[in-house]
Symmetry: C2
Subunit: 145 residues, 2 copies
């Protein structure tokens, strides 16, 4: 696995896709999203339902329904997506999995890791969901496969 779980990878790609598709208004259906990012449709549906319960995407049922992101969502940091799916273990947890690892009782990797974890957290906090739309529109970045 990479840094994030596969579920989290899907979530991030889906959120970018929805943001990109609906920044100018409208909704996008689960089928189109799954197709657009290359993920299993039903599985992604679960993930998006979860994100919508947490307010990270919006959704409307029925005809012309689908998922969308409003302005407030576009401004949220992508760390919100990661935390919603993978939890905050990646930002706060000990690299060796030790419960009581801390500044006072550090594991061998504690200090080296603190820097990296903080840097990761800072980066994901400083990067907003909406930030990629212009790049996606101009086709510089890709979300599929």
């Amino acid at each position: 696995m990479g840094i994030f779980s596969k579920t989290c990878e899907y979530a991030l790609r889906a959120v970018f896709f929805v943001a990109h598709k609906t920044a100018g208004g409208g909704r996008v259906g689960i089928k189109e999203i799954a197709e657009g990012i290359g993920s299993p449709e039903h599985f992604l549906a679960k993930v998006l339902q979860d994100l919508s319960r947490r307010g990270i995407v919006q959704s409307v049922k029925g005809p012309n329904g689908g998922f969308y992101t409003d302005e407030s969502v576009l401004q949220r940091p992508i760390s919100d997506v990661v935390e919603a799916v993978d939890g905050n273990g990646i930002f706060t947890g000990c690299a060796l999995g030790l419960k009581q690892c801390s500044e006072i009782n550090p594991c061998p990797l504690h200090h080296e890791f603190k820097t990296i974890r903080n840097e990761l957290h800072r980066m994901l906090n400083a990067t907003s969901i909406g930030e990629f739309n212009t790049d996606l529109i101009s086709g510089i970045t890709a979300l599929k496969k």
Copy 2:
């Protein structure tokens, strides 16, 4: 989960433990290691067998046998342990899980992530297995629970 898999956490803790216990010579048995780092004995045995096949720890069967680390092992970077167990996906993989993500065809997070991944890799490469022995001996760092 944290940055590494649970198996990898066990592996790192076990390697530090073995290095610490046998830096001055001698061997340490699987039972003592499992007890010392708080891991399931039989599961850890598998992990250490794997590491010993790859030369990251040494082992001797029979009475007075056990695992140990010689000088050459103490000088290896801890990235060797991580790569042996979790592979190098964490160092090289795309954060969004995209196969064809690259400099030319980057995903939305590509550039932001490159920095972090490189920093992580650099750190794990620059840190040797033997490096923690003095701290472990003086009791500053802990490996259990």
